[in-house]
Subunit: 546 residues, 2 copies
């Protein structure tokens, strides 16, 4: 296999771990926990895994004599940098406890558990993947583990392979399902434990005990590298406004972190748009005002960061989409018979007056997309809307009006970009390499301690790795009840951008200056070998939160 | 100013230079040169700067006593990583020769010379920009220096500022103009010298004496970083074919270099498409065959690299565009009166039968774009065609036909990307930092030696910097006659991808294997501080050429 020089050099990196788990450990249990909300409901749904204590690993005097045990791991959902290091951490962790322990990897995500597709992960395989990006060691998948039949099929293979515990590496939904599985296996007295690991570049799986989800650090650094390069280009060529969309549909953490790193002229935060009940026109006007203000200073260039989920955060559009989905579902048969060139008209005529007005105000390309292109479940496909181009077009239109009115005298030419796949499988930064490896090592300790329904937790992450705190948090403690597909379900509470949190408040205090000045910062590419202040920095988000 | 940690750390980097120019130098002159073609025409047009010898700088015994002299610099055309290091090399170079020498920077490109817009570049300013990306120190521009009036205006400011020489940092056209200016100033006995520096990320300004243009190394490394990340994502998620377009309209060097670094499944090289007289359908079929072959192995994912200029390399489309431009120019008034929804029909009816057939075979979006959107000169805007999406759509259509015929049984879902602005202003790699700084130092020496009409040359660049060879090449030696806007003009011969050259031949010997296997390589981000085999590698193109 032909591997790059960097990958070769990087394979020798030994990730740092908390000093407390370098050698022998002892477990310390805290007080009983409660779920973040809806305590009665959650307790009823998780009678066996509710209320367990937070646990912490501290330096112990000598390693306990641990019998060899087998572990099965699952990668669930979208890729995030560092997944391979979680796995190597687990591998080293269980081997340290007993060299005869074995690690199995279920292939292609949760379906591997159900369909009994797996490989044994030996040291030869693990060594090839240390400190690399991607989830290609065993592949990932989006099958949801929700049905008892799936759980029972999983149990079969666990029994066959003598698997003591399953570790699910995933986002909020996957970890919710991990907990459901833990509860089921515990209620059935199967003896199989389930542990979760917090993964997602979106950064929306976090709380007091889970300071950040892994991959967020690396992905935002890759995006910030290319955003910085684009900013420098904008400031050199001085002729384009660059509209840059960033991955992240349900939360705007990625966009906020990239803004903190690169100081662009305009940054949209979905959570704020929603809280302020802004319309699409409000958003367009806000951008156009920044363009006009800079043009008045002779600066006909700039950068705009747009979160992928922006459209869905705009309350009016959210309502429109909800009605559209319901209306189309109710009139499916009739709608299918309408000729393509009459479909937009049909939709407009079948919406409530308020939503029809919003629908008709959208640019033709967008209303067409909403009316004609639907996913296999019949839902409109918001993710196909090229928000960055839509905004650029609408701002251009507004500026053209302002030009006629004498309110704008500059030039406005645009370029647009979308970054997502560019960062999800980058090789992990030192932070993610260390954090992930530590999460894996801690997961192994949680298993050896007999825990189930816990998420691996590594805290104090703005400090050097030696000072990080290792432990576990009961997954039920992060849950509340939310409506999903019309039914109330127990789910891990998603962490949205807090408008009263440190990162947003810092951003809000600076953005007026960033809008009008050219205050760009150019972070450059992730460095692995240089001075610590370059190579080992956590995200601005983490630093401002802690 | 808020600068990134990396920028801070990187500002201390001292670029390496050829050992021969570290201290005192002596000039050695080679034999008289000839232009690469059309010798009689070029000689007639450049009576004073034709036939000069190639010169080389060797270690000298002691520095000559050089009087203080002033230099003016111009950044011309698109940004390329390392421009600031050329400037710091010039600055340090002229200060080494005499500390009272001064450096002026003309602002916003060649128009700064004509309009007398400039700043003095002092050590405070220079130090802030060492080893950084971008051209923002003085800005760049696309004004062409072609008219005697411009030359005379330039001379005025040179006299006023006592400027002994102008250095033009630009691509092939800018360096052609540098030579025209040198010839004019020499013929007029103005005493003002003109020196060129080879810049362009496109890599198409090169020959025996100019092994590579600066910026190509860094830009292709940035693109290869993100392409590698996308490949790893493709190989982890196993559900998308990623179509990736790369900057570079007139040559496919960038695409070829990125292919050599990342080993994608399919790579299109414009020069080959042209040489083989391929049609758009040939190209689409070629990609679809790779998709089908991988699908037969259960691999429904992959990566396709597409050079930005592909469409213009397809002979049939090249002819169509040429006729379109002529026909629209001839019928301008009538065409303007045609209703928008009749314009496509009008175009089809006014083309020759052969070109009308090609025009009608294009997807609706493309024929619409060609018919309706034209640049200020009335030309169709080929660069607006989203080639990567066009190809993805056409491949999907072909595979759908093949599915009906039973020739394809896989899945085909796509994502598309375009990388250009992401790399043009990246901070220079060690190679570009050293190469650019050396080019600047050599330019200073050429001036001190009284040379004009020369391009700064640094060769032997696959070896460590100490062994690089420093010198100058007469710009006329790189010229031939070409048709531009209907007239024969002397221009630097553009270096296209050579189908019998080392880089293409290596690629051609491997591509069948890369198409069917998953042979992706993940280069990762540019490193500045690590082991030399990671940080100091020249491009694969250079290595395979020398």
């Amino acid at each position: 296999m032909n591997i790059s020089q960097l990958q070769k050099a990087r394979s020798a990196y030994q990730p740092k771990v908390p000093a407390s788990i370098e050698g022998a450990t002892k477990l310390s249990e805290g007080k009983a926990t409660q779920s973040v909300a809806d305590q009665d409901d959650i307790k009823k749904l998780f009678p066996n895994t509710y209320g367990m204590p937070i646990v912490t690993f501290e330096k112990g005097s000598s390693d306990a004599n641990v019998e060899a045990f087998n572990v099965g791991i699952i990668l669930s959902g979208g890729q995030a940098p560092g997944g391979h290091n979680v796995i190597s951490g687990i591998f080293d962790g269980i081997k340290r406890l007993n060299k005869d322990s074995k690690l199995y990897g279920f292939l292609g995500g949760p379906s591997g558990l159900v369909d009994h597709k797996y490989i044994e992960l030996t040291s030869d395989i693990i060594d090839e993947y240390r400190n690399t990006g991607g989830f290609d060691i065993i592949g990932s998948g989006r099958t949801k583990l929700e049905e008892v039949e799936q759980f029972d099929k999983g149990l079969e293979i666990c029994k066959k392979l003598n698997i003591k515990a399953i570790i699910i590496i995933g986002g909020d939904d996957s970890n919710t399902n991990a907990c459901v599985l833990a509860e089921y296996y515990l209620a059935k007295k199967t003896g199989v434990q389930v542990i979760g690991c917090p993964k997602t570049i979106d950064g929306d799986l976090k709380n007091e005990m889970i300071e950040t989800s892994f991959g967020f650090d690396t992905a935002t650094k890759v995006y910030s590298e290319v955003i910085g390069n684009i900013e420098r280009d904008a400031n050199s060529a001085k002729k384009y406004w660059h509209f840059i969309k960033l991955m992240g549909r349900s939360a705007s953490h990625v966009t906020l972190e990239c803004a903190l790193q690169t100081q662009p002229n305009v940054t949209l935060i979905g959570e704020e748009v929603e809280a302020k009940n802004q319309s699409l026109d409000d958003v367009v006007t806000y951008i156009a005002e920044a363009v006009a203000a800079r043009a008045a200073k002779g600066l006909n260039f700039g950068t705009v960061l747009v979160p992928e989920g922006l459209i869905e955060f705009i309350p009016a559009i959210k309502k429109l989409i909800a009605e559209l989905n319901d209306m189309l579902a109710a009139n499916q048969a009739e709608f299918d018979k309408v000729a393509d060139d009459k479909k937009i008209e049909y939709v407009a005529n079948h919406l409530s007056a308020a939503n029809a007005a919003i629908f008709n105000s959208l640019p033709a390309g967008v209303s067409r997309q909403l009316a004609l292109e639907r996913d296999p479940h019949g839902n409109v496909q918001v993710s196909l809307i090229e928000t960055e181009q839509l905004l650029a077009d609408m701002v251009a239109k507004k500026l053209a009006e302002w030009k006629k009115e004498g309110k704008f005298a500059g030039k406005f030419a645009t370029q647009h970009h979308f970054f997502g796949y560019e960062g999800r499988c980058a090789a992990p930064s030192n932070f993610d390499a260390d954090y992930c490896y530590s999460l894996g090592r801690v997961a192994a300790l949680l298993i050896a301690s007999g825990k189930t329904g816990y998420m691996s937790s590594v805290r104090n992450t703005t400090k050097p790795a030696a000072e990080w705190l290792a432990g576990g948090i009961p997954i039920t403690a992060m849950m509340n009840m939310e409506k999903r597909n019309g039914k109330m379900k127990p789910v891990i509470q998603k962490a949205l951008v807090k408008l009263d949190g440190g990162p947003f408040k810092y951003f809000a205090s600076k953005r007026a200056e960033w809008a009008i000045e050219t205050a760009f910062v150019y972070p450059g590419p992730i460095q692995y070998f240089g001075p610590s202040e370059v190579c080992d920095q956590p995200t601005k988000t983490l630093t401002l939160e802690h």
